[in-house]
């Protein structure tokens, strides 16, 4: 009933169609080596482009129908809300958490050892292996709790830290060959 429902369906239609057409016109021709039908050494086979072409065509068709219908019909189901402020906060929190997770270890290692020992050497030893995960995880968890709770408090921050630590130990203590994030990337 809401105009928002119409707009959302139009957006779904445009995204679906747009993606499909882009894939059909640019991505598939440039990034798949065999055609829809592949003839190689006298065998006629189904090529690698068959599945993407058919699925993109299906998306284009479905998108088109959704689009036309949203323009024609007036009774539409209301759409769920996509809140840009929520998404901005979410993105900021996740980005901050992941950045801290990735960078804390290497930066502290550089400061403490004066750049002599690379983080790669330290990544599997305590306390180094916990630093990035603990800080990044705490920030991420606390950020999201604060986001949904509206009332950040020291108690919640402590809770986030403890929860992160418990998760770290949960994976690290029983399993020798598992690496906590981000240690496998170094």
């Amino acid at each position: 009933m809401t105009p928002r429902g119409h707009l959302r369906n139009l957006a779904v239609a445009l995204t679906g169609c747009g993606f499909a057409l882009l894939a059909l016109a640019v991505w598939i021709p440039l990034d798949v080596d065999t055609g829809v039908i592949d003839v190689w050494r006298r065998n006629v086979r189904i090529g690698d482009a068959m599945l993407p072409v058919f699925s993109a065509a299906g998306m284009a068709l479905a998108g088109a129908v959704i689009g036309v219908r949203s323009l024609l019909r007036d009774a539409e189901p209301a759409a769920g809300r996509i809140d840009p402020r929520f998404l901005a906060w979410l993105a900021a929190t996740l980005a901050a958490g992941l950045a801290l997770m990735l960078l804390t270890g290497p930066i502290l290692a550089w400061i403490v050892t004066g750049g002599e020992t690379p983080y790669r050497v330290l990544r599997a030893t305590a306390p180094w292996k916990y630093l990035g995960f603990a800080l990044g995880g705490t920030v991420m968890t606390f950020g999201l709790i604060a986001l949904s709770q509206h009332r950040p408090s020291w108690r919640l921050a402590a809770l986030a830290f403890v929860a992160t630590l418990v998760i770290a130990l949960l994976y690290d203590l029983p399993f020798d060959n598992l690496l906590l994030p981000p240690n496998g990337d170094f």
Partner: protein, 527 residues
């Protein structure tokens, strides 16, 4: 080996092949321990509002694989755990529905209608007993149907369907899922086609990994577990977080806590419930056997059927035990039957089946599909032994459910609840870590979060998730079947339309897409 030998071998495999503890003649095997662990975790999580079975499966799968490794020995413990969770979560959902009027899982909504009034009348314990009795009956019945039907169906499929028919059958299932889940046929098709497209990235038979954009991350294909968990679980978490962010009443409304009270359920009372349970579990089993239709629809249909049958007081909706029984028997009967298409055809019909197929694919050595049920006499078919061992584990879970389920449900009623606002961010970090440790690459985490946002956008725009996930899982087998069918026909462009059976399947697919409005006359199932 005959049929009996296989069943015996399966039972033996489940109980003794992978022992954790040996006390004289008594052997406690890992699969049995894990199925029990899964069951209790499932009840606990199902009883926690805001969480559901798929959350545990998503978190547990990478961890379990890290623990048990990729050997065939890992199959039964991991599959056992997933099956245990599946059964436990359905049962657990009834606890908060009855005691707090907040359904723990979406399919338990109908349980609140009669369960909560009963709890308010001081009959909470009895309501839990009714829910348990109905749930476990429905579950056991559905499992029996699975044990009988899956091998039979698989053997007939294998015997009567050739390559083009199998490909057509997959297309039929996929269109059915796309159309039946969610409110909108075309959005469902959009989601399914998108799932097929995403699955084609980095795969294919040519030496160049198609659609990989020259990237080393995409070249081996997207990490399946990260994609599936991202869309299914992270997307759901984001939606809930936003809901709480937007809701001004940030503090959880203090749930009305009711003491369970009297909990006896006499034999005569149980007998009175039986007709309701019988009808509902048949409905649930039939619904469950069709891919893509969730437990919510089964619960709604069971409840409606029960209301039509019911005479006398209290009326449905005012605290009738029959209402709880009708709902719980129906939604619990779905879970076993859901595995019929998964095990016999390799076509996952719901989220639990998706995780079971995912686990089997990741570990290797067991490929759900018709080939599992080859009763080869001359040589042991190890996959068939695994299948029967899995059935055995389901029986173990059911026995456990009969014996301890009611007690455990009551116990949970008294537990302190953690507010969702705190729980979900922690679950998100847990999911992220769980996905990371399996692949040891941050790129997996980015993919997880990226598909999480996609899942959030799809949910908020009414694009159903399940068709995407099932199409993504089914893309590989479908493409292989179509390639082989085409080549076996001598490169006949009409290979899919050459036999009456495949023609029938394709006609049915088209009819389903076009007749979608009629099919969807009932309330929307969950995803």
């Amino acid at each position: 080996m005959g049929v009996f030998d296989y069943i015996l071998a399966g039972v033996f495999e489940a109980f003794t092949a992978n022992p954790a503890l040996v006390l004289g003649p008594l052997v406690l095997s890992w699969p049995v321990i894990l199925v029990a662990l899964g069951f209790f975790t499932g009840v606990l999580i199902g009883a926690t509002p805001g969480l559901s079975g798929p959350f545990v499966m998503a978190l547990a799968l990478p961890i379990l694989i890290s623990i048990f490794g990729f050997t065939p020995d890992a199959l039964l413990p991991v599959l056992g755990f997933l099956v245990g969770v599946m059964k436990g979560a359905t049962l657990g959902g009834a606890v908060p529905a009855i005691l707090f009027n907040t359904p723990g899982t979406p399919d338990a909504f109908m349980t609140t209608l009669d369960g909560h009034p009963m709890a308010r009348n001081g009959q909470g314990g009895k309501a839990l007993r009714v829910a348990h009795f109905a749930s476990v009956s429905g579950d056991s019945f559905s499992d029996i149907v699975l044990f009988v039907c899956a091998p039979f169906l698989a053997i007939s499929i294998e015997a009567f369907l050739g390559l083009p028919e199998k490909a057509a059958l997959m297309i039929l299932s996929l269109s059915f899922v796309a159309v039946v889940v969610g409110k909108d046929t075309w959005k469902g098709l959009l989601a399914a086609c998108f799932g097929l497209f995403v699955a084609s990235i980095g795969t294919g038979t040519d030496s160049y990994p198609r659609l990989s954009l020259g990237s080393d991350v995409l070249a081996p294909g997207l990490p399946t577990i990260a994609v599936v968990i991202g869309v299914l679980v992270v997307g759901e978490i984001l939606v809930s977080l936003q809901e709480m962010y937007l809701s001004k009443r940030a503090r959880r409304a203090a749930a009305e806590q009711l003491a369970p009270g009297d909990s006896a359920l006499s034999l005569a009372e149980r007998r009175r419930l039986l007709p309701f349970i019988g009808v509902s579990m048949s409905i649930g089993t039939m619904i469950g056997a069709l891919p893509g239709i969730g437990t919510t629809l089964a619960a709604a249909m069971g409840y409606t059927a029960g209301r039509k049958m019911h005479r006398g007081t209290p009326a449905f909706g005012q605290g009738a035990p029959e209402g709880i029984a009708a709902t719980e028997a129906a939604n619990s009967a779905v879970s076993g039957a859901n595995l019929i298409p998964a095990l016999s055809l390799g076509i996952p019909g719901n989220v639990a089946a998706v995780f079971i197929i995912l686990a089997a694919d990741t570990i290797g050595g067991f490929n759900p599909g018709p080939a599992v049920f080859r009763f080869s006499a001359e040589e042991v078919n190890p996959e068939l032994v695994v299948a029967f061992a899995l059935f055995t584990l389901m029986v173990v879970a059911n026995l456990l459910n009969w014996l301890t389920g009611a007690w455990f449900m009551r116990l949970l009623g008294g537990l302190i609840r953690i507010p969702k606002q705190v729980l979900l961010p922690i679950v998100l970090l847990l999911t992220l870590t769980s996905v990371y440790v399996e692949g040891s690459a941050m790129s997996d985490v980015y993919i997880l979060l990226g598909f999480g946002v996609l899942g959030y956008l799809m949910r908020q725009s009414g694009v159903p998730i399940l068709p995407f996930v099932i199409a993504y899982i089914l893309a590989g087998p479908l493409e292989t079947a179509i390639r082989n069918a085409f080549e076996a026909s001598g490169s006949d462009p009409w290979f899919l339309f050459s036999s009456p059976v495949s023609l029938l399947f394709l006609a049915l697919s088209a009819a389903i897409v076009l007749g979608a409005g009629w099919l969807r006359g009932t309330p929307t199932p969950d995803c």
